[in-house]
Amino acid sequence: MLADAPLEPGALRRQASWRATKSAIMTSLMIAAVIVVAVPLIAVVWSVISRGAGVAASSFPDFFTREIPVVSRRAGPGMGPAILGTLLVTAGATVIAVPLGVLGAVYLHEYGAASRFARIVRFMATVMTGVPSIVMGLFVYLTWTMTFGYSAFGGALALACLMLPVVIGSTEQMLRLVPTTLREAAYALGSTKSRTILTVVLPAALPGIVSGALLAIARAAGETAPLLFAVGAATRYNPDLLHDANTALSVQIFGNATSSFAAAQDRAWGAALTLMIVAFLITFAARVFTARFALKR
């Protein structure tokens, strides 16, 4: 036994061994992996900022407010209609998807539990998270756009279909994190199930639900494929949600980046930068919200 042997002076000293070397090799491999992952990310951010900042900053704030030049070879700003379009479509999608998603998750977790119907719904929501966005766009094209024409609402519908399963999933996860003892405490005071959910469970899960919804929104804001079918490519401002073609930043990037005119390409980079900033702001807001209001333990 180790305890019986006499303790030599150098016995406890750190020794050069194969184990130590192996550990050092693994550590450097992991650091290398992180660098490999970080490089493309940094490269993307850098190129968007360097190329987009040119157009956006030189004519600030025109870039954000002027209409898109119809003649795309003409240099100069702006992307105003696209920004408004993105905001309209994303806001519309949020108003449809978030309430439906939260209520659906409440049903699945609090009322449905093990019932067959709930299991089917949950399964279908999981499947929906994997449906390609262009397929959703096609679906909206067939059901809405062909009857009612291009509109921001069609785009909102398509994005809502994409957001819904994500909101349901993250909300259900948050509801699961609320400890059962809180619900029991409310029941023990004579509170009904619906009242308990409204006044105890949802407020407790709210920070998580909000940050999950914000992340879904950030993702939806950048979707391109469904909007191609539903929204169109207008160049003028169109604040009307239900009528007439509209446009969005992602659609404009698609259209302009492949154009042969440098001016159009510049605008595409500017739009890309704007979209990146929008997504960043929303994600940042989600983090701040979670940190400030997280369920205090």
Partner: protein, 294 residues
């Protein structure tokens, strides 16, 4: 019926370190006189097809503290939860036999669990205040029962906090989060929250097990004060606590069904606390009290 309090048996005296106070409470005749509030009649509780507890028949008397003692896993908490229909929230749980509150069957078809729980409240083992302000925690129950007037709620909050001996400590910070209090304060808050709806019975599931001895002593003192207004049933792992605080004690134990090695809890003995600790009728009770088992 008088209860004979005899000298402790020699085996009891031999257990060192176990100071069991045998308070001679106001005449044991008083124990029989108060009306019966809760009655269990051959109650058994199933989780799915597994029978967790069987053969529980007892009467809980008004304005008394009844303690459930026994080793782990013998069904004390299960029986307690059956008294206010808390098993409804567990899918697959079923209560057999009869539980009567003032003569009315609690598990009848037309009985609303919410109404039952308004009259029979519960304090849980781990303090579980809502992540709201102290005021909103106490006001939750009354609000759920329809009281909206601010003046009324203010009054109820103050009354409940005073009754729970918490008012002086928190009166200046009613709007701060309840989670910022110590464990003992949180548990007293939970008790205040429970009595704010003015139930008749307060069920307590090991309320002091998560607390330090000083907080425990304060809650035991609180229980003695609350006894005048409420009927209290307490599950406790701590025999000495049962001896200190309760008027009646019920001893539960686990039985193993030889055939299929199934464990099932059951009620062994239920009597005045002084008798249970000084002169128990059943040998199993004596073994538990003297520490030979459990």
């Amino acid at each position: 019926m008088r209860v004979e309090i005899t000298e402790p048996t020699p085996s009891l005296q031999r257990t060192s370190g176990q100071l069991i106070h045998l308070e001679q409470r106001r005449s044991s005749l008083a124990l029989e006189d108060t009306p019966v509030v809760l009655e269990a009649d051959e109650v058994e509780v199933f989780y799915g097809s597994f029978r967790a507890v069987r053969g529980v028949s007892m009467k809980i008397h008004k304005n008394q503290i009844t303690a459930f003692i026994g080793p782990s896993g013998c069904g004390k908490t299960t029986v307690l939860r059956a008294f206010n229909r808390m098993h409804d929230v567990i899918p697959g749980a079923r209560v057999g036999g009869r539980v009567r509150y003032r003569g009315f069957d609690l598990y009848a078809h037309d009985v609303s669990a919410t109404e039952v729980r308004r009259r029979i409240g519960m304090v849980f083992q781990k303090p579980n205040p809502f992540p709201k302000s102290i005021y909103d925690n106490i006001a939750f129950g009354p609000r759920a029962n329809g009281i909206t007037s601010k003046a009324q709620l203010d009054e109820i909050v103050e009354k409940s906090l005073r009754a729970a001996a918490l008012w002086d400590e928190v009166k200046d910070r009613l709007r701060t989060s309840a989670l910022g209090m110590s464990g003992g304060q949180q548990q007293r808050l939970c008790i205040a929250r429970t009595i704010a709806v003015e139930p008749e019975v307060v069920l307590m599931d090991e309320p002091c097990s998560a607390l330090d001895p000083i907080a425990t002593a304060r809650i035991e003192e609180l229980m003695r004060q609350l006894k005048d207004q409420f009927t209290i049933v307490i599950v406790t792992h701590n025999m000495q606590q049962a001896a200190r605080v309760s008027d009646r004690t019920a001893f539960f134990t686990v039985e193993v069904d030889g055939a299929n090695d199934q464990r099932c809890g059951t009620l062994v003995e239920y009597d005045a606390t002084a008798k249970i600790f000084a002169n128990p009728s059943d040998e199993r009770t004596e073994n538990y009290i003297t520490g030979r088992f459990g």
